[in-house]
């Protein structure tokens, strides 16, 4: 089964600084990849998803971007962080067709000061 690695686990950044969060997947090939954010007291909000290398779909307008330079690598970036970017960022993957669940990494807790 697949394993999803996210790092760092915790990150504190000042407002206006850049961001790069990395997610890598092991144990599968050609997965669908997802970035979610969970704000305090809220559910999981889908930010981006990718069905292949270089293919990114954005779900919500924001100052974040995503890239997929390799099959099992998904990167979440920002050029200038806002206070509202604070939250818990989760990477997920799913494989195959049909009714297959998404599996999540352990997330990155991002605090903006």
């Amino acid at each position: 089964s697949q394993t999803i690695h996210q790092w760092p686990a915790t990150l504190v950044q000042p407002v206006g600084s850049p961001l790069s969060l990395e997610c890598t997947v092991e144990g599968t090939s050609n997965p669908n990849l997802y970035w979610y954010r969970q704000a305090a007291g809220r559910g999981l909000q889908l930010l981006f998803y990718s069905v292949g290398i270089g293919q990114i779909s954005s779900e919500v307008p924001q100052n974040l971007s995503a890239s997929r330079p390799q099959d099992r690598q998904f990167i979440l970036s920002s050029k200038k962080l806002l206070l509202s970017d604070s939250g818990f960022y989760l990477c997920a993957c799913s494989t195959g067709g049909g009714n297959q669940p998404q599996h999540f990494g352990d997330g990155t807790r991002l605090s903006i000061l």
Partner: protein, 114 residues
């Protein structure tokens, strides 16, 4: 527009009794439903799922029921154990090939009282 709703933010249940978590949805195009369990500072863990062609799916202590006419699903945990204390999210996926996106509810915090 909250298409998947978990109206109970929290629930407390005595150890050994049944825990029932509820979820409602508004989009009739959803055809696959999932429950996830989440501990603090960890990612959600997949628990159980159900396709819209079924009304019940069981896996050990966990059973999910789907009522399509009411657009309602529930997760039953019996017997409840202290390790079940966590936040539970329901999620739904739309129909159609390649449509893998999940819409999540806001979660219910379950506390099992020893």
């Amino acid at each position: 527009d909250q298409q998947v709703k978990q109206n109970s933010p929290s629930l407390s249940v005595q150890e050994g009794r049944i825990s029932i978590l509820n979820c409602d949805y508004t989009n009739s195009m959803f055809d696959y439903f999932l429950w996830y369990k989440k501990y603090p500072a960890e990612g959600p863990t997949f628990l159980i799922s159900i396709s819209s062609i079924k009304d019940k799916n069981e896996d050990g202590r966990f059973t999910v029921f789907l009522n399509k006419s009411a657009k309602h699903l529930s997760l039953h945990i019996v017997p409840s154990q202290p390790g079940d204390s966590a936040v539970y999210f329901c999620a739904a996926r739309g129909a159609g090939f390649g449509n893998e996106k999940l819409t999540f509810g806001t979660g219910t915090r379950l506390t099992i009282i020893p």
